[in-house]
């Protein structure tokens, strides 16, 4: 018997093979492997349903269409007190400073500099109490003498984490690579997180937790992009995800 037609194999994922087809499949490694490949394809397709992605449009853009359709009332321009405007400007300036800092990190990394040199999170050995390279600044549950001490420890831990994660992204070959699909999913999730954090920073630009999450997200995104670049098939270039 000749090999089963490819469309018949595609059908047999949920169809019933005839006795002759079953007999052939028992003795034909190639057809059996192809049938298994089709089963994997169908499993992959079913997994797509759970996939989420950044919205295709912004609320501002959609809001305009909704107003045109008469589904929402026209937006009234709120009048704000002068002191609130001033505070808002200061908040925006602080948010821009954080964004520029994060952008500079990514820019320098994308320009080909070493991660350890480019990332501004590098622990400063001259800083009192700074851990030596490779040493994690754990407090071992002893408590902190002041909020400032706790924040300093938090910043150091963050720096160490970022350094280690970036180093692993560039140098670790021991862990098995994930499928590009998984990296793309992770990138989409990181983009959404970064967007959320950006929005939060507009309201609370000085919040240390929001800033840390935002910068950590940018760092993780960069690492994932690097991983994805090495996980694509030979000859493939990352154009978009």
């Amino acid at each position: 018997m000749l090999h089963l037609p490819i469309e018949r194999l595609a059908e047999l994922v949920e169809g019933v093979a005839t006795p002759a087809e079953r007999e052939h499949l028992l003795g034909c490694v190639s057809c059996t492997r192809e049938l298994e490949a089709y089963r994997r394809l169908v499993v992959m397709a079913a997994g797509e349903r759970r996939r989420i992605a950044p919205p295709l449009t912004s609320w501002d853009s959609l809001g305009t269409r909704l107003r045109e359709a008469g589904l929402v009332a026209p937006a009234a321009a709120p009048r704000r007190a002068r002191h609130l405007v001033a505070i808002d400007i200061m908040r925006r300036a602080a948010a821009v400073a954080v964004l520029v800092g994060g952008g500079a990190i990514l820019g320098r990394m994308s320009a080909g500099m070493q991660v350890a040199d480019a990332v501004a999170f590098r622990a400063n050995p001259a800083m009192p109490g700074a851990p030596a390279p490779g040493e994690f600044a754990a407090n071992a549950g002893q408590g902190f003498s002041s909020p400032q001490d706790a924040l300093t420890a938090l910043a150091l831990a963050q720096r160490q984490y970022s350094l280690a994660a970036n180093w692993l992204a560039s140098n670790d070959t021991s862990s098995s690579a994930l499928a590009p699909e998984q990296y793309r999913t992770r990138l989409a999730a990181l983009d959404r997180t970064a967007e959320t954090m950006q929005q939060a920073m507009r309201d609370a630009p000085a919040d240390p937790y929001i800033n840390q999450y935002y910068l950590a997200t940018l760092s993780a995104r960069e690492q994932t992009l690097r991983r994805l670049g090495t996980a694509l098939p030979v000859g493939s270039k990352l154009g978009r995800f």
């Binding site: 090999h3 037609p5 490819i6 469309e7 018949r8 194999l9 595609a10 059908e11 994922v13 190639s30 492997r33 192809e34 490949a37 089709y38 994997r40 394809l41 169908v42 992959m44 397709a45 079913a46 797509e48 349903r49 996939r51 989420i52 992605a53 950044p54 919205p55 295709l56 449009t57 609320w59 853009s61 959609l62 809001g63 269409r65 909704l66 359709a69 589904l71 929402v72 499928a179 590009p180 699909e181 793309r184 959404r192 694509l232 098939p233 000859g235 493939s236």
Partner: protein, 173 residues
């Protein structure tokens, strides 16, 4: 409204993107879908989860939009042409890195049937009713679409095998 959109847009827009294929067209259709969802909001009675209810609207509205642009009018022709190109074209140039990329390269009709059945879980009878074709026609197109996707996604499905192994894994028949 904004809260509903923020919560469900990642899922709803993903459905639109899968069915449309072309991201530029998907943006316009996604806005139409959301307008329809909000327009129909007073009819939502809570007997299903909002996401499920909105998902149905998204599928129907997207199919309407595709139908309107006459993309579904050439289902049979397109799928025959694209299947032929897999058999005779350069496979290397056609390889895709993800199922999203691969489905975007299917003809609109083949993509619609594949996405509705294998991704969204519609039956052939439901697809036939939506698209105005027979269940048998839906099945035929699904199997052709799978065959094409299997070729396009050979590196992904075969687990990044070597070029030699890949040829064995995807016999020409």
């Amino acid at each position: 409204m904004r809260q509903l959109w923020s919560q469900h847009a990642p899922h709803i827009d993903a459905v639109v993107r899968r069915l449309v294929g072309n991201p530029d067209d998907a943006v316009d259709i996604a806005q139409e879908v959301w307008i329809q969802i909000f327009r129909a909001l007073p009819t939502y009675r809570g007997d299903a989860q909002f996401g499920t209810w909105a998902h149905r609207i998204a599928v129907n509205r997207t199919l309407n939009a595709l139908r309107r642009t006459r993309r579904l009018a050439r289902i049979e022709t397109d799928i025959e042409e694209e299947t032929a190109s897999v058999e005779h074209g350069s496979e290397r140039a056609l390889l895709a890195a993800s199922i999203e990329d691969a489905t975007a390269r299917l003809s609109p009709g083949a993509r619609t049937v594949f996405v509705m059945h294998d991704v969204e879980g519609y039956t052939h009878e439901e697809i036939a009713a939506e698209l105005g074709i027979t269940p048998g026609g839906s099945k035929s197109q699904l199997f052709k679409a799978r065959a094409r996707l299997r070729k396009l996604l050979a590196p992904v499905i075969d687990g990044f095998r070597s070029e030699t192994d890949r040829e064995h894994a995807a016999p020409a028949y």
